[in-house]
Chain length 169, copies 2
C-alpha cells in the first residue's frame, strides 16, 4: 500500500480552505465537535478561521477498563449534552473518513441530543467500502481531499519531522 | 512587547523532548488531560511518544450562554470523572503557563475527582507574576521552554504558514 506523508502546514492550509468552504456553503456552525484523538489538531486549526468553540468526544476501540472492543466505544462524551448540543448547528470534525465506522457512530450518538443540524468535515476521505452510509439528513459534507485506500502518515505520528517534510509531496 | 513565532515542527519536537522528560522522571501517567483549546495540539503530539489516552476539558472566559466571565469557566468537563480520573496518574497539558489562572483552576477541579497524582506539562512558561502557586502536592512540572512575558504566536493561529515559518527563530 502506498504511503502518503502530510506536513502540518499542508493540513493547516487544508483546514483554512475547508473553513472557507464551510463559510461559503451557508451552513453557519455554532460549534465544532472534534472526534478524538484524530480530530483534535484539524479542529484547533479550523478554529482560527471559523472562530467557534470546540467540544470533543473520545472514541476508541478499547473501553475505560482498557479492554479491546470491536465496535467504537465512547471514552469521553459531553458532560451537558442537552445544554451543549440541543438546537445547535454542529460541525463534526475528524482527520479521515476511512471505513466511516467512527463518524457514523458519532452521527448517531450526536443526533440523540437533537442538534439543529450536523455537517461533517474531514481532511481526507478514502474511496473505499464504507460501514455507514451518510444519512439523508446530512446536507453538508466537507472534504479536504479524496484519496484511494492509501496509508496516510499524519505529521502528529511522525518520529522525525524533518523526514516527514522530506517525504511529503 | 516582542513577538515570538513558533512552527508546528518546533512544537512537535518540544513535545517529543517533554515526553522523554516525563518518561525519565519516573512519573508514569495513565492519561493526559488536555486543556482546550490550547492543549489539544500539544497533547495529540505527545500521544505519539507517550502512547496514553487523552481526555479533554474545555475552559473559556465565556459561559455556555456566551456571556463573558471574569474567571475561568468550564465549557466541557469529563462525563464520567470518577471512572476516568479517580486513582489515575494524570498529565495535565496546556500550551502556556501565563498567569496560571486556567491551569490553577483545572488543578483544583481535577483534584476533586481524587486522582492518584497530577503532573503539569506545558510548551512554554512565562516568567511573570502568577495568580496561582503551584500546589505543594505537585511533584512534577514539565516545561518545554521558559520565556519572559513575550507575545507567543502559535502556528495554529497563523493566517499564513509560510510567513509563520519565515518569522520563526
Amino acid at each position: 500500500m502506498e504511503k502518503i506523508y502530510i506536513t502540518y502546514n499542508q493540513i493547516h492550509n487544508t483546514m483554512k480552505d475547508l473553513s472557507e468552504q464551510v463559510k461559503a456553503s451557508g451552513f453557519n456552525p455554532d460549534l465544532m465537535v472534534a472526534i478524538g484523538t484524530g480530530g483534535f489538531i484539524p479542529a484547533r486549526m479550523a478554529k482560527t478561521f471559523l472562530n467557534i468553540p470546540i467540544l470533543t468526544v473520545g472514541i476508541a476501540y478499547y473501553d475505560l477498563d482498557d479492554n479491546p472492543t470491536e465496535k467504537p466505544t465512547i471514552t469521553q462524551w459531553m458532560d451537558q449534552p442537552d445544554k451543549q448540543i440541543r438546537g445547535k448547528k454542529v460541525l463534526l470534525v475528524d482527520e479521515v473518513d476511512d471505513t466511516r465506522a467512527t463518524i457514523g457512530f458519532c452521527l448517531d450518538e450526536l443526533k440523540k441530543h437533537e442538534p439543529a443540524e450536523i455537517a461533517i468535515c474531514v481532511i481526507h476521505n478514502k474511496k473505499k467500502k464504507k460501514k455507514h452510509e451518510i444519512p439523508d439528513w446530512i446536507n453538508h459534507y466537507f472534504i479536504g481531499e479524496n484519496l484511494q485506500d492509501e496509508w496516510i502518515c499524519y505529521p502528529w505520528d511522525a518520529e522525525d519531522t524533518d523526514m516527514q517534510d522530506k517525504l511529503s509531496r
